[in-house]
């Protein structure tokens, strides 16, 4: 079999400079509501594949995944597990993603599902694994799992998880949730879990820090897909799970533009907050300013007029 060169494999999606318009697909379905604290992997796979077909204008699931991934890619799936099982990236959804990567011809051994710590992964319901699809915490790696070199990205100086270096491409699989300081936590803020000192970058609503961090080549050049888990959305009191403000939304938001995905997530959070009788994040003076900063940094589109929204 002859493989395409990586650089020529994805011209339409990852062309630089940024395309004039971004596309984001939102799927809503009762099958995307959590049963217990998880999603059915089969249902998640079907709906995710449908979203990807729309996103990439592909005729089949296989062609959709192949538009994004090369069989030789080593793929890191960055999940978000801080809040424990009730509000972490769904195990079923992650399973669906790994199946999709299989459709692109990527062997299981070249896929790693990871988070900051093994403890967080376990608490979120993942089973740690060193075989097949690897599931591991950064903290399981030598020396604590962080590069010893300081990486600079605008206002951020940090050390990255060694896993960011070990993979060719990254899929961000966060959970859509309110964040007490940042406004919302979604695709971009998920990368606070890729650095050793996220606590130092929560000032001023995490702005410009989230945006600056995502300009680092390890993220900007490797991030290929964001699958925002909105099966259960925390609308207030996040980022931890808080039952009173947790909404069984039953959604998935999928895109390749991290700014557009986050902006879409923000709009959903605000819309649902109003339905719940809460003020919007802006009214609470908690709007996620880092999203606008990310747009200014050229990471993607925030404004609705530049985002083609497809709702399934």
């Amino acid at each position: 079999m002859t493989y395409m060169a990586v650089s020529s494999a994805f011209p339409e999606v990852f062309a630089r400079p940024l395309s004039a318009e971004s596309r984001v697909v939102e799927v809503r379905d009762d099958l995307l509501k959590r049963s217990g604290d998880d999603l059915n992997p089969g249902a998640a796979a079907r709906l995710l594949n449908e979203a990807l077909r729309k996103l990439l204008r592909a005729n089949s699931d296989i062609s959709a995944w192949k538009k994004l991934f090369n069989p030789r890619d080593r793929v890191g799936i960055k999940v978000s597990c801080l809040p424990g099982r009730k509000l972490s990236s769904s195990v079923g959804l992650v399973h669906a993603i790994t199946e999709g990567l299989g459709l692109a011809g990527i062997p299981a051994k070249n896929i790693i599902v990871w988070e900051r710590t093994a403890r967080e992964l376990k608490e979120a319901g993942f089973r740690l694994s060193r075989h097949g699809v690897r599931v591991a915490g950064t903290d399981e790696y030598e020396g604590g799992g962080y590069d010893n070199r300081i990486a600079f990205a605008g206002s951020v100086g940090t050390c990255f998880s060694v896993l960011m270096e070990q993979v060719d491409v990254v899929i961000s699989v966060p959970v859509l949730k309110d964040h007490d300081i940042a406004g919302i936590s979604a695709g971009m803020k998920n990368f606070y879990g890729a650095i050793y000192n996220p606590n130092k970058y929560h000032g001023n609503g995490c702005n410009p820090f989230v945006a600056d961090l995502c300009t680092h080549p390890l993220i900007r050049d490797k991030l290929r897909l964001v699958v925002l888990d909105a099966s259960r959305v925390q609308l207030q009191n996040g980022p931890a799970y808080f039952h009173r403000y947790a909404l069984e939304y039953g959604g998935l938001i999928v895109g390749t533009d991290p700014v557009a995905v986050d902006a879409t997530g923000w709009r959903i959070v605000d819309r649902e907050r109003i339905k719940m009788g809460l003020k919007t994040l802006k009214q609470m003076n908690r709007q996620p300013g880092y999203i606008a900063t990310a747009e200014k940094r050229g990471l993607g589109h925030m404004e609705e007029k530049f985002i083609e929204q497809i709702v399934l």
Binding site: G144, G157, D180, K200, G203, P239, A240
Partner: protein, 357 residues
């Protein structure tokens, strides 16, 4: 390192650990807010922390509405240092200090020399569990008459430092705190009951520097300096002079006038040479002439004990402010008392401020 599991209690405070949690000791100086949030009152960052999140220091975590320190007794560095290395020049000079640190800091100084332990979260650093008693035992058996809480920021391991200092005071082994001074008044006053001395890094005399380079503010540090002085705990100040950032004559003039006015002429002031490190690699080391200029300004403003550090110079010596005779000779971290008898100048009998045995 403590290894906890569901149903297991913390070996220090007895509070049950949550499933899978590996460490934790209930923190002090925090306030419970509504909906499970807490507000930390240990330092002026005053972090408001939601469940499962940590404060900006990365070492204190909200667990279901209770705030825990993750670094109680988790020692990342333990060494025997000359006390001159802290630097403390008027506190048990020539003695050894059993020096310890846990991971973490409430600042993010771009020039931090110890960033590999100060800027990391507890789980990213190898630690050894110590009790306050074992710290005291180690100091005693290694013939160290002083215990120093140093290297990172002791404020973030307040509870452990306080316990060590309390035990040390009873046992006659005083504890000293080498700090950025970024601590709220109440915990600082509590510490002053037990500490023998405090060294504070006055990192600059502008709020801009504190905000942009350190991630803090100037005023709370000045407040702490006043509190320590007011409590009568021995105090020394260090200023790391960084070219172009905090080395203007105007700034040093304002700073040293403030020290003279608020603290008097007898608080030792150390101007230290900066070397490129961590996130500040693009500025060359401080020229010695800059340090001499700063010292001259401080002396002109009336301060009696102004030292230069991180270079070999006789300005590290202590001279009698009355008759000018050499009292303590220093070379690097080595020191020898040559002109003092107890705490007085041998020649003129001038009382020298400090703690001298």
């Amino acid at each position: 390192m403590k290894l906890g599991a569901a149903g297991v209690a913390c070996s220090v405070c007895g509070i049950p650990l949550l499933a899978g949690e590996t460490r934790g000791h209930e923190a002090e100086y925090y306030e419970k807010l509504k909906d499970g949030k807490i507000k930390c009152h240990i330092c002026p960052q005053e972090c408001e922390v939601t469940n499962r999140e940590r404060g900006s220091c990365g070492t204190r975590e909200n667990r279901e509405g209770k705030y825990f320190t993750l670094v109680y007794g988790e020692i990342a560095a333990a060494n025997i240092d000359p006390i001159e290395k802290k630097p403390l020049f008027h506190y048990h000079p020539t003695e050894k200090a059993f020096s310890i640190a846990t991971p973490g800091c409430n600042f993010i100084c771009k020039f931090c020399q110890n960033w590999e332990i100060s800027q990391k979260r507890p789980e990213q650093v190898k630690t050894v569990e110590f009790s306050a008693k074992s710290v005291l035992f180690n100091a005693r058996t290694r013939h160290c008459p002083v215990i120093a809480h140093t290297y990172t920021e002791p404020v973030i391991f307040f509870e452990f430092m306080r316990d060590c200092a309390e035990l040390g005071k009873e046992a006659g082994i005083p504890n000293v705190m080498i700090s950025n001074g970024y601590i709220k008044e109440k915990p600082m006053r509590e510490l002053c009951q037990y500490l023998g001395a405090v060294k504070i890094d006055l990192k600059a005399f502008t709020d801009d520097f504190y905000q942009k380079i350190c991630g803090g503010k100037l005023k709370p540090v000045l407040d702490t300096i006043r509190v320590v002085r007011g409590e009568g705990t021995w105090l020394e100040l260090v200023v790391l002079i960084i070219p172009t950032l905090n080395d203007s004559s105007k700034e040093i003039d304002r700073m040293t006038k403030w020290i003279y006015r608020e603290l008097g002429p007898d608080v030792p002031l150390h101007f230290s040479r900066y070397y490129p490190t961590f996130m500040l690699q693009n500025i060359p080391p401080t020229p010695p002439e800059t340090l001499y200029r700063c010292r001259k300004i401080a002396l002109n403003n009336g301060l009696h004990f102004v030292y230069i550090g991180n270079i070999l110079t006789d300005t590290a010596n202590t001279y009698c402010p009355h008759c000018g005779v050499l009292l303590i000779e220093r070379a690097g971290f080595a020191a020898e008392i040559v002109g003092m008898k107890k705490n007085r100048c041998k020649k003129c009998g001038q009382l020298i401020p400090g703690v001298f045995d």
